[in-house]
Every structure is written in C-alpha cells, then in structure tokens.
C-alpha cells in the first residue's frame, strides 16, 4: 500500500487530539486523525463533565481562560450545544482551613478576572440552600459550568471531519518511524501515513511514543469513579466540588445528578470500572453535602482511564528530542475543559511556529534526568 503524505498526523481522537485536528483543518492543513477505538469514547467521553477554571493551578489559568472563550462559542464551532451550561461552579469548604485555602486561591487568581465570589456560611445558605450543613463556606465562580462529554468530545472529531480532516476510527497505530519528511505511521489495518508533524495525543497511552523517542515520562493511569442517579427534581443550581478533594456533583437539565469521587480500577489495558468501594463511599457520604439526594437511587456507575504525571500537570508542547513531534497528554482528570485550548495551542505550534500562551510549565523536558541521553527518534 502506498504512503499518504499529509501535513500532520494526530494519534488519539480524544478532545485534545480532535480539537487540534479541528484547528489545523480549519487553517487548511491536511490532517489525519487516528483513533484506535471511537473518537471521544475514552476519558474525553466518559469524564465527569466539569467545565471549570476554578481550582486549577495558576500555570493552567491562561490556557484555561482561553478554553473558556472557546466553550462560549461551542454551537458555532461544533454545531451542537453539548448540553453545556454556565451554571457556575461552587467549591465547598468543610473547615475554616479549607475556606482559607479558597480565599488564598481567589486572591492569587484575581488577575484572571473570573468574578469569584467568596461566600461565608450565611451567604452560602442564603444562595445555595441545597448545600448540606457540613459546608462552612464556598467559593463561587459564576462563569464555570458543565457539559455532556459523551456528546462534546466526539463532536470535535466530527467537526474536524467537516473541515476536511481525515478521521480514521478503529484504526490502531502499530508503529511510528522517522522518515525523510518527518514521520511515517503504520496502522493495524495496513494504512501508512507520513507527515512532518506528529501529535501524540494518546492520553493515558501516550507514554509509549515518548519513550520510543528517548524521553520517557512517569505517566500512570488513574480511574475516577462516577455514578449517575435517576432523574430528580431540579435542585442543584451549580456544579460543585470540595476543597481538598472528595465528592463532586452536578445536575443535568433532565434531572439526573452525576457524582464522582474516589478511584475505581482497571479492568484491562483500556477499560475500567468504578468499583464497589468508591461507589459505596459516594452513596454513603454524598448526603451530607447534598441532603436532597437522600432516598435517591444510583442507576449506573462507570470509570475511565486517565493519564497522570507526578506533578499533576500535563505534558503539552514540543518534544525535547524529536523535531516535529508535539505532545499533549496527561491532564490528570481535568482535561475536558482545557482540552480545546490545548488542541489549539498544539495547532499554533504548527501554524504560528509557537503557541500564543506559553507552554513552558508543561514541557516534557521537566522529566529529563541527567542519565538520559538525547536519543534520536528510533
């Protein structure tokens, strides 16, 4: 079979890879997007669906705020609303120390102008009466919200296709090799593509390619546990989380509450389950945060496979060893909101030579060890 020459090959049809494909295709680049399963069927499609800037590390905020703008244009971009609502995001504090942490974050993030509102106990009761007594205060970010990942993430790939990207689903990459122009990529179904640019957006499975080009990363898989209730009367007017971690929850327009918290387990290399431990923890502890859930029933549980690096920051930007290779993975369970901007930043690396927002904090070089050699693409 002959080799197809294109401008960029993207490995991974999650929200990062698919949005990179979309931005590149919109700019007239010839793009091939390779997805071994279905686009948006892994973490990008089965995550909690939080679309929030609040609570992120400061280094992520420039990109996250850019993502906020992109989310605001979702229907124009994708042709669907993806059930995206700017419900606001309420981060609850269960102790004075936690509330102080929220205050600190509010102060530090002030330059980003997100309109945060710090609510003490009385203000919280007055505005969000459905929050349980265990919360002593909260930080409310009015522009944050939530969306349906099952719809949004595949829609990015669909939109890329509409703009001329070649999207190959059920098309696993078997190997990548250097070639005269850059890279040649072979797929299990016998196809062969070559391009000067290669984007490694393979999520929790991205470490293999990084290792192949001599820049191994300590990427580990995690499996956030999630469940959904039967439809309930609408009461949860904001998406919520808890300072210091714990249960997070949102309610969709049709009434179902989606809750996450704790870790499930891997079933195989690419599938995961929520597991009884995390599920029972959520069912036993959620009512103190959201008393209206008493008596409700969970109808379904699930998990996904997410990539985590030790510092919980993603790897985003150029390879340190291999010109033409860009990485975008390891979003530590918080890639859904920032994904479209991460994809855009990768596209900018190609289109503009460098991204508009610095990706320095996310460089793969931070994992370079003194013993590692600068191996070429092999």
């Amino acid at each position: 079979m002959s080799t197809q020459h294109v401008d960029a090959i993207i490995m991974g049809g999650g929200i990062v890879g698919a949005s990179a494909a979309l931005w590149l295709a919109r700019a007239g680049q010839r793009v091939v997007l390779l997805e071994r399963d279905f686009c948006g069927s892994r973490s990008s499609g089965v995550n909690y669906g939080g679309v929030r800037r609040q609570g992120r590390t400061l280094v992520q905020l420039p990109l996250s705020c850019r993502a906020h703008q992109i989310w605001g244009q979702l229907p124009a971009l994708l042709g669907i609303d993806g059930e995206y609502v700017r419900s606001g995001h309420l981060k609850l504090a269960r102790s004075e120390a936690d509330f102080a942490a929220l205050q600190r974050w509010a102060q530090l993030s002030e330059p980003f102008d997100m309109g945060l509102q710090l609510l003490d106990r009385e203000q919280l009761r007055a505005r969000f009466a459905w929050v349980g007594d265990i919360a002593v205060g909260a930080s409310y970010c009015p522009g944050d919200g939530h969306a349906n990942p099952r719809l949004v993430s595949p829609a990015f790939a669909q939109a890329a296709r509409h703009h001329g990207a070649q999207v190959h689903e059920q098309c696993a990459v078997t190997h990548v090799e250097p070639s005269g122009v850059g890279f040649t990529v072979h797929s299990a179904d016998g196809q062969r593509f070559s391009a000067p640019w290669l984007l490694n957006c393979a999520g929790a499975w991205a470490a293999a390619l990084a290792a192949q080009v001599g820049e191994p990363v300590p990427l580990v898989a995690g499996h956030p546990a999630m469940l959904v209730t039967e439809p309930l009367p609408l009461f949860m007017t904001a998406s919520t989380g808890v300072e210091g971690g714990g249960i997070y929850a949102r309610q969709v327009a049709r009434g179902n509450c989606v809750l996450g918290g704790g870790q499930g387990f891997a079933l195989g290399e690419s599938t995961a389950r929520a597991g009884q431990l995390a599920v029972l923890d959520i069912l036993r502890n959620a009512c103190e945060l959201y008393p209206a859930l008493a008596g409700a029933q969970a109808i379904r549980t699930w998990s996904g496979t997410e990539g985590y690096l030790p510092d919980r920051e993603p790897v985003l930007g150029p390879s340190g060893t291999t010109p033409g290779l860009l990485h975008g993975f390891g979003f530590a369970g918080a890639g859904f909101q920032i994904g479209p901007a991460a994809g855009e930043a990768l596209a900018e690396c190609i289109l503009l030579g460098e991204p508009r927002h610095s990706l320095k904090a996310f460089s793969i070089e931070r994992f370079r060890t003194s013993t590692r050699s600068n191996a070429p693409c092999a």
Binding site: L267, Q276, L283, C287, G295, T301
Partner: protein
C-alpha cells in the same frame, strides 16, 4: 471465608443447591424474591390461600416439588432472600439486602442462575398505563391474585402467550382476544421437533384447544399495531394475517415476544460471550457441564439461554455436579450423562419452539419513528435511527449518542429492540453491532446505603 454461592432461587438455583447439599457442601443461596421458586414457580405471599393447582395448573407437582426441595434444605444452606447481587468483582459478590444493607461476599465458586425477562418489541402506546409484559401479567395473577384488567388483550408470541391466556381464563378473566404474530404454518412445520417433548407439546395443544372451546378468539399471523388511550389503554389496533386492520376496545394489554436472558452478572464477572442465533442475543458461553469461561463460574437456567423451567432444573443439577467434580469430589458419572442427554433433548424442543414462534423479522423495519423504545430515557426509534445515520453502528456508541439503554433498566428492557433497530438501519447483521456492556449496579442502588461487615 469463601463460599459456594448460587445466585437465583428458581428451578436452576434450587436444584443446584439441593445437589450441592446432598454432596455435603453448605452453599449460600441468594435470591431477590422474598420466597423461592423463581418467576415460573413464584409463590404467593403469606396469607394467600389459592391451591397449587390453581396457581400452577399442570405444573403444580413440579412447583410443589421445587418448593418442597428448598424447604427441606433449611439448615443445610445459607439462604438469603430479598438479596440483590448488584455488582461482582471476582472473587467478590456485592449484595444489597432489603434495599438498604450492602455486604460483600467472597465466593470460591458461583452458580449463576439469574433467569430471564420478557423480550419487548415496542408498539406505539406501549408505555400507557394498563399495558404489561406477558411475564408481568402472569406475576400479577400468580403472586397478587390480580387480573390486569377486565377487558384484556394478549399479544406477541411464544408459549407463554397461550399459557397466560389459559391461566387468565381459568381465573375468571377471559381474554377478549389473543394475537400470535407467528403464522399457523410455522407452528405446523415445527411439530416434528416439538414432539421431542410430547407432554409439553400436548400441553401447548391443550391450551389452544381449550381457548377455542371456551370462545377465546386466537389469531395466528396477527400483529399488534398499537395501543391507544388517554390516561390508560382504551383500545388496540391490530392486523390480521390477511393484512386487514381491526380495532378493539379493551382496558388492559399484555404483550411480549418470548424471553431474554439476564446476563449482566456473567458479564461483570468477565465471562466470554458468544452469539446465539436462536436467542438473537449474546450469551455467556458454557460447556456441556455448565462451566463458564472463567474458572469457578457456572451457568444454569434461562440466564444463559432460554430453554425453559424443565431444562433449568436439569441444568442446575448438572452445573452443581460439574462444580463438585471440579472440586475433586465423587459424583455419579451416569447421572451426569443422563442430565446431559435430557438437556440435549430439551434443546431440540427449543429449536422447534423457535420455528413455531419465529421472531417477527419485519418489526424493526416497520417500527414507526415516534415509537418510544427506551422508556427510561424516552428515546424513540427515530432517535436511534438518527444516531445510526450519523455514522454510529456500535450499540454502545449509539447508547452514548442518544441515551438508549442508559436509564434505570440499563437496557434490560429496551436493549433487544434497540439492537434490532440499529442492525436494520445500519444494514449490518445483528451480531455485527457489538453488545451492550453491563455496568454496575445491575439494579438501582440507594443513597444512604448501610454497610454490613
């Protein structure tokens, strides 16, 4: 401590329990119902006084024998009624007792005897109050001694259709009309294989003849088109074998097209599945002794393929003997062979039933776009077709796109119909659209659940 666990106290589960006890084991028997017997030999609540003959008709002896077998095992096993297995993570089963108490149970071996539910092929109006599945209509009568209505129509196909018509008529609620989608010619052609079980075949003939003698109109090759009504079902529209459309006023409708296996537990335990053309479904694979692909997991009864109550009793005993043999205990080899031969004969009968009550192949093509397929999530046939036209053909992707099978029942009710629609719309064979993945909880789980150590 690890236990031998049996899930389901129907014909398969009770026979498995009896066999294990007889060989000196003390199994744990988990069952969702308050009393043993399964769906087919469901016992009436305490304080109800109908005779076994009234409740089980020709099957009264079998029912009594099974109930008696469970009663005699008292003290020899750990019997836990009102216990749902909502999740499995080998070697653990996660149970929920009386809807509020969660407990983990370690198993060394497990016999899955989870039975079956009705296979539903929706028609417009099927979600109206007053419309039941055939199985639910039978439960109302057998358990609560209630008729689902006074002016009753029964529709669909399968042996249960005639049995139910007879049971309702005997109980004093004579159906107005019985609509069998299977053509009479198919039933005539199937006679040779049905004679593999002459007594069962004779019972089927008896019900038919009895209905005829007592003036219950039975139409073969007749299709239920829709149910209509304002607050509840008030009439049905149906088409006879000649294509003529009729309307009949009624106050209750029961319908269903044979049964489908409850396979979620086997799926959660990681058992291999295979495509069964006869069942039009993916089923957990079992060998001729009842072993699943996962060591220590055994399958018996309708939960691993629809063969009926008699076969379930045989398969339950056989799976238990296999389990005992795998433990290195001595079991009677002649008995195993005898059971295997009886199962083979029942399978031949089952193939005959398949011919006698063929699946209505045209259902998916004819289902109107506005028919609600998934009642939990209110997903219509049209929405499923739209998802397919967007390029999706894998049933889990169609589910992710349009929510079919995402609700309370997890596709147990709508999965079969959704699969038919996806296959029809995508032009793929039914076995080429994937299989709905089971997800815990198998049935809903409440907030505020208590943990029992």
């Amino acid at each position: 401590m690890s236990e031998v666990v049996i899930v389901g106290a129907g014909p398969a589960g009770i026979r498995a329990a009896k066999t294990l006890c007889a060989h000196g084991l003390r199994p744990t028997l988990l069952d969702e119902a308050t009393r043993g017997g399964g769906q087919v030999y469901r016992q009436q609540p305490p304080g109800f006084s109908r005779s076994a003959a009234q409740l089980y008709g020709f099957e009264q002896r079998k029912a009594q024998a099974l109930h008696g077998a469970l009663a005699q095992l008292s003290g020899q096993l750990d019997y836990r009624p009102e216990t749902l297995v909502w999740n499995a993570e080998a070697p653990w089963l996660d149970t929920l007792h009386q809807g509020r108490e969660a407990q983990r149970l370690a198993f060394s071996e497990v016999v899955i005897a989870t039975g079956a539910t009705d296979r539903i092929l929706p028609v417009p109006g099927w979600t109206l109050p007053g419309v039941y599945s055939l199985g639910a209509a039978q439960i109302a009568l057998k358990f609560q001694a209630c008729a689902i209505g006074g002016r009753l129509v029964l529709a669909g196909s399968g042996p249960l259709l005639y049995l139910l018509a007879w049971q309702y008529a005997k109980a004093g609620a004579r159906p107005l009309l019985v609509l069998d989608s299977a053509p009479f010619s198919a039933q005539a052609r199937a006679t040779p294989s049905l004679l593999a079980q002459p007594s069962t075949f004779a019972k089927g003939l008896y019900y038919r003849a009895w209905l005829g003698l007592h003036g219950v109109p039975v139409h073969t090759g007749a299709h239920l088109l829709s149910a209509e009504g304002e607050q509840r079902v008030q009439a049905v529209n149906w088409e006879d074998a000649n294509g003529q459309v009729h309307r009949l006023e009624c106050d209750a409708l029961a319908f269903g097209h044979t049964l489908r296996s409850e396979t979620q537990l086997a799926d959660l335990l990681g058992c291999a599945f295979h495509w069964s053309a006869a069942n039009r479904a993916w089923l957990p694979t079992r060998d001729d002794g009842g072993r699943a692909s996962v060591p220590g997991v055994y399958l018996a009864g309708d939960g691993a393929g629809i063969l009926g109550a008699d076969a379930a009793e045989v398969a339950g005993e056989l799976a238990a003997l296999t389990l005992l043999g795998d433990r290195g205990l001595h079991v009677d080899p002649a008995r195993r062979i005898e059971l295997q031969q009886r199962l083979a004969s029942l399978e031949c009968f089952r193939r005959g039933l398949e011919r006698a009550f063929p699946f209505p192949e045209q259902w998916a093509a004819n289902a109107a776009d506005e028919v609600v397929v998934c009642r939990c999530e209110q997903v219509s046939a049209g929405e499923i077709r739209t998802a397919v036209r967007q390029g999706h053909w894998d049933i889990n992707r169609v589910k992710a796109t349009c929510r079919v099978g995402m609700g309370r029942c997890q596709g147990r009710l709508c999965g079969a119909a959704a699969a038919e629609l996806i296959a029809c719309e995508s032009g793929r064979a039914l076995d080429q659209i994937g299989r709905l993945r089971a997800q815990a909880p198998i049935k809903p789980l409440p907030f505020g659940v208590e943990l029992k150590p």
